[in-house]
Amino acid sequence: MSQNERVRPQPPRFAGQPLDTGGAEEFGAVRSRADRLLQAADDAIARALSNDSERFLQATRQSGGQ
C-alpha cells in the first residue's frame, strides 16, 4: 500500500450539534440531509483526489490577483 493510498473507515453519522430550536421532526430532516450529503461527499472526494496531492497542488499554483 503506497503512502498516498488511504484507508477509509466507515464514517460516523453526521456529528452536527443538535438544534436547540425547532422540533424533533425538523432536526431529523436536517440530520438526514446532512448524512446524505456526507455519503455523497465521500464518493465525490474519492473520484476527485489525484494520486499525488502535492504534485497536483504544485502544478496548479496561482499568482495573486486583486
Binding site: Q3, R6, P18, R33, A41, L49, F56
Partner: protein, 755 residues
C-alpha cells in the same frame, strides 16, 4: 433638472454587480502544468467562440451578450464581471451564468492541445502553495459621499463573513487551520485604496464608471462563493445597508467595533459563531448579534421609499440564516459555503485518520491522531490530501465536489433555476444600461474590432460615432454622437440638430462649428444631455485648454458659447458634464486674465462637488481656486486654499497631487517672502522638486523655476540656466503657455550673463 420620474427611479432602484476572479490551470500528462499564457489565451478564445461579444480594448477583454465583461485580470486570473443588476437574484443569476460560460470554455479547450489535457478551473480565494489571494468583488451604485460608507459599513463587512465566508484553510498560517473566510487573513488595513497589496476591509477606489452623481462602492473584502443563498445575502444585505446610508441613515450607530481587524481575525477562526466582539465606546456583541441589530434597523425601514421592492424577501432570508447560525452553524450544512466545506473536510479527516481538535485560542486545527495501524499515511500527506480536497470542492469543470453534491440533490442553497442561468447567458438584466450594451453586442458583434465597448460607452470606430452609457439606470438610448476626432462621422445616424456642427468639424471649419453651436445653444428649444456633451467635446477639441490654457484673447465666439453652454448643462443636474464645461469656461476666463470670473465659475463647480461629496474633485477645485488667486499675486487668499487642498489630497491618498499642490503652496509662501529670506524654505523646495522629478511630473517646472530664481538672486547664472533648461525639458511636449514664459526667462538669464 433631473426629472421627477428619474428621481423616483433612482430612489427605489439599487444597482450592483459581482466580479469573480477564477483560478485556472491546464495540466498535461502526469499533472504537468502546460503553458499558462497559452492556456488563458485559448480559454478566452473559447469564450469568444461561445457567445456574441464586443471587444473592450483587446481580444482578451470582452463584453458578452448579457452585458457581462469577461477578461484576464492581474495574475492571469480569468474574471467575469456581471452586468449591472437590480435585484440580488439577478446578481446570483448572472454570476452563475459567468461560471457556466467559463466552465464550458474550459471544457471546450481541452481537445485543442496536442496531448491529453485537463483544464482545471476553480472558484476559490487563496492558493495554499504560493500564499496568494484573489477573490470576488462587489460593486454598488451609491450617491452619498464615500466617507459615509467607511464610517457606516465596516461592522457589516466584518461580521457578514459568518454567512459569506467561503471556508477553507488559513494560507498564512504555519499549521493547518480551518477558517470561516480564508480571504480575510489578507486584509491588513481597515481602509485603503489598494487592491493587490495592503488590502483593506473597506476599499476607497474611486472609479464610478458613470457620470455624477452616480458613484461606485467597490467591495473587495468578499469571497467567491458556491452557495447561492450566501451570494444572495452577500449582495442583498449590503445593498440594503447602502440604501440606508444613501438616505442619510446610520445603520452602524452603536455598533462600531473597537478593532475591526481584530474582530475579523476572531470571527474567521470561530466556527461556533460565539465569539464576543468589543464595541466602542463599551460593550460587546457576537457577530450574529451585530448582524441581528443591522437586520432590525433595515426591517424598521422597510416601508421607506428608498427601500427596494425585494427588501422584505432579503430580510426574511437574512433572519432565517442568523437563526440557523445561532442554533448551530452545522444546521446550515448544504446551505452556506463554510459549514458545508467544514463538514466535508471533517469527514475527510476521519478518512485520513486525523483527529479534529479545537485549540480554543487560534481556532480549530487539524492534527494527526493515532492513524489506523494499516495506514501508512503520515501527517503531512494527510494534510496535503485535505488541501487538495478543498481545491476539488471548488472546481467548476464538472469534477467539483460542491457541483457533485448539488447534482445529487444533497444541497439546499438554490436561489435561481439552472434553466434561468442558461437563459441568462444570452439575455441582459431587467433594467439599466446593461440592456443597451447587450443590444449593441447583439447588433454589432459581427463587426469585430470596428466597435469597442466599455461600461459607460460604446464606440463605432468605423462610423466615428459613440454612445454614452454613463447613466446606469438608463435602459434605452440611441443617442449616438460623433467622436470629437472623427474625420467623417456617419451623418445619417446623428441627431439632426448637431449635423451641421459635425459637418463643420469634419470639413475642418472650427469657427463655423462654433457658430453653429452658438446658434443651437442660443435657441430656446430643448436640448438633450448628449447634444450638450457633444457641443462641449467639440469646443474642447477646437480650443484645448487642458492641461493649461493656450487660448488667445481674441477667441471672441468661445466665451459667449461656453457661458451659454454652462447655463444649459446645469439644467440636467449631471455633474460630470457641468464639470467638463465649467473647466473649459474657467480656463477661458483665466487665459483672458479675467480671474474674478474664473473664480466665480470654480466656486459654482466646487459648491456642486461638495454637495455630492466627491473628495478628489473638491481637492482639485480647491487647488484651482487657489491658483487663480496665485496668478493675481493674492498670496493671502491663495495660501489657505492650497493648505486645504493638500489635506484633501492626503485624505484620498494621491501622493502626486499632494506634491503638486505643496509646490503651489510653497510658491505662494515664497511669493510674499523677500527673496533674500528664501533660505529656510530651500530644503523643502529641493525636496518637492526631487520627488516631482522622480515622478516625471511636468509640473516640476514651477519648482525648477523657483530654484532658478534663487540661483539668479545669488548670481549663480549658470546654475539658474541649468534649472530652466531642465524645466523646459520636463515640460517638453506639453501644450502650455507656461513654456513660453519659461523660454523667456531662460533668454533673460542668458542675456543677463552676457551683459
Amino acid at each position: 433638472m433631473e426629472s421627477e420620474q428619474h428621481k423616483e427611479l433612482r430612489r427605489a432602484t439599487r444597482i450592483f454587480g459581482i466580479e469573480t476572479e477564477y483560478a485556472f490551470a491546464v495540466l498535461g500528462s502526469n499533472s504537468r502544468r502546460l503553458d499558462p499564457e497559452r492556456s488563458v489565451d485559448m480559454l478566452m478564445r473559447k469564450v469568444r467562440d461561445l457567445v456574441p461579444h464586443l471587444n473592450c480594448g483587446y481580444d482578451k477583454d470582452v463584453f458578452t451578450a448579457n452585458g457581462s465583461r469577461v477578461y484576464l485580470d492581474v495574475g492571469l486570473h480569468p474574471e467575469v464581471a456581471t452586468p449591472e443588476c437590480s435585484t440580488p437574484e439577478e446578481a446570483v443569476l448572472f454570476s452563475r451564468a459567468g461560471d457556466n460560460l467559463l466552465a464550458r470554455a474550459a471544457q471546450a479547450m481541452e481537445s485543442e492541445w496536442n496531448e491529453k489535457a485537463e483544464a482545471v478551473l476553480w472558484k476559490a480565494n487563496v492558493d495554499y502553495r504560493t500564499g496568494s489571494t484573489w477573490a470576488s468583488h462587489e460593486s454598488y451604485l451609491h450617491y452619498a459621499p464615500q466617507s459615509h460608507f467607511s464610517e457606516q459599513l465596516i461592522s457589516h463587512l466584518v461580521t457578514r463573513i459568518i454567512y459569506t465566508g467561503a471556508g477553507g484553510f488559513d494560507n498564512t498560517a504555519s499549521s493547518l487551520r480551518f477558517v470561516v473566510s480564508p480571504r480575510v487573513r489578507h486584509l491588513k488595513h481597515e481602509v485603503s485604496n489598494c487592491s493587490t497589496r495592503d488590502r483593506a476591509i473597506f476599499n476607497t477606489r474611486d472609479e464610478p464608471l458613470a457620470a455624477s452623481p452616480n458613484r461606485r462602492l467597490h467591495v473587495l473584502a468578499g469571497e467567491s462563493l458556491w452557495s447561492e443563498v450566501a451570494d444572495y445575502l452577500r449582495i442583498g444585505t449590503t445593498a440594503l445597508l447602502i440604501a440606508q446610508i444613501d438616505a442619510g441613515r446610520r445603520p452602524q450607530s452603536g455598533l462600531d467595533l473597537t478593532s475591526p481587524l481584530d474582530a475579523l481575525a476572531l470571527i474567521t477562526g470561530d466556527v461556533g459563531c460565539t465569539a464576543k466582539l468589543g464595541l466602542r465606546p463599551s460593550g460587546c456583541l457576537t457577530a450574529i448579534g451585530i448582524q441581528r441589530r443591522l437586520l432590525e434597523g433595515v426591517e424598521n425601514d422597510l416601508g421607506a421609499p428608498y427601500m427596494p421592492p425585494w427588501a422584505t424577501a432579503v430580510c426574511e432570508r437574512w433572519r432565517a440564516v442568523l437563526d440557523g447560525l445561532e442554533a448551530s452553524p452545522s444546521s446550515l450544512v448544504g446551505v452556506l459555503d463554510w459549514p458545508t466545506k467544514l463538514a466535508v473536510l471533517k469527514r475527510q479527516c476521519v478518512s485520513e485518520g486525523i483527529k479534529w481538535t479545537f485549540s480554543g485560542e487560534k481556532g480549530p486545527e487539524f492534527r494527526l491522531d493515532a492513524p489506523p495501524s494499516d495506514c501508512r499515511t503520515d501527517k503531512s500527506v494527510a494534510e496535503t490530501h485535505l488541501l487538495e480536497t478543498d481545491l476539488h470542492f471548488n472546481r467548476l469543470d464538472g469534477r467539483g465536489i460542491f457541483s457533485a453534491l448539488d447534482r445529487e440533490g444533497s444541497l439546499n442553497h438554490r436561489i435561481v433555476s439552472p434553466d434561468a442561468v442558461e437563459r441568462a447567458l444570452y439575455a441582459p438584466p431587467s433594467v439599466g444600461r446593461a440592456r443597451i450594451r447587450a443590444a449593441c453586442v447583439e447588433r454589432f458583434a459581427h463587426k469585430g474590432s470596428d466597435i469597442s465597448c466599455n461600461w459607460d460607452h460604446i464606440v463605432d470606430h468605423e462610423r466615428g460615432i459613440m454612445l454614452h452609457l454613463d447613466d446606469p439606470l438608463l435602459s434605452e438610448s440611441n443617442e449616438w454622437i460623433p467622436m470629437p476626432s472623427a474625420e467623417e462621422p456617419a451623418f445619417e445616424d446623428l441627431d439632426p440638430v448637431i449635423e451641421p456642427i459635425a459637418r463643420a468639424v469634419a470639413s475642418g471649419a472650427p469657427r463655423r462649428a462654433l457658430n453653429h453651436i452658438h446658434l443651437l445653444i442660443s435657441a430656446t428649444g430643448q436640448l438633450s444631455l448628449a447634444v450638450c456633451r457633444y457641443c462641449a467635446s467639440v469646443i474642447s477639441s477646437i480650443v484645448p485648454t487642458d492641461p493649461v490654457p493656450v487660448l488667445g484673447r481674441g477667441s471672441s465666439t468661445v466665451g459667449p458659447v461656453l457661458t451659454s453652454l454652462f447655463e444649459r448643462v446645469k439644467e440636467f443636474g449631471n455633474y460630470s458634464v457641468e464639470d467638463q464645461v465649467g473647466i473649459l469656461l474657467y480656463r477661458f476666463h483665466e487665459a483672458c486674465g479675467r480671474y474674478q470670473l474664473s473664480r466665480h465659475v470654480i466656486r459654482q463647480l466646487l459648491a456642486r462637488s461638495q454637495e455630492i461629496g466627491n473628495l478628489r474633485t473638491n481637492a482639485r477645485l480647491t487647488n484651482n481656486l487657489g491658483y487663480e488667486y496665485l496668478l493675481e499675486g493674492r498670496w493671502a487668499s491663495a495660501q489657505p486654499l492650497f493648505e486645504r487642498s493638500v489635506a484633501l489630497f492626503e485624505d484620498v491618498g494621491d501622493r502626486s497631487e499632494v506634491l503638486n499642490v505643496s509646490a503651489n503652496l510653497l510658491e505662494c509662501r515664497l511669493g510674499h517672502t523677500a527673496i533674500e529670506r528664501w533660505n529656510p524654505h530651500m530644503p523643502t523646495l529641493r525636496e518637492i522638486n526631487r520627488a516631482m522629478m522622480e515622478n516625471g511630473d511636468w509640473r516640476a517646472r514651477k519648482t525648477l523655476r523657483l530654484l532658478a530664481r534663487s540661483a539668479e538672486y545669488h548670481g549663480r547664472y549658470r546654475a539658474a540656466r541649468g534649472w530652466m533648461r531642465r524645466a523646459l525639458a520636463v515640460s517638453d511636449g506639453i501644450p502650455t503657455q507656461l513654456r513660453d514664459w519659461d523660454k523667456i526667462y531662460l533668454y533673460t538669464l542668458e542675456t543677463r550673463e552676457s551683459l
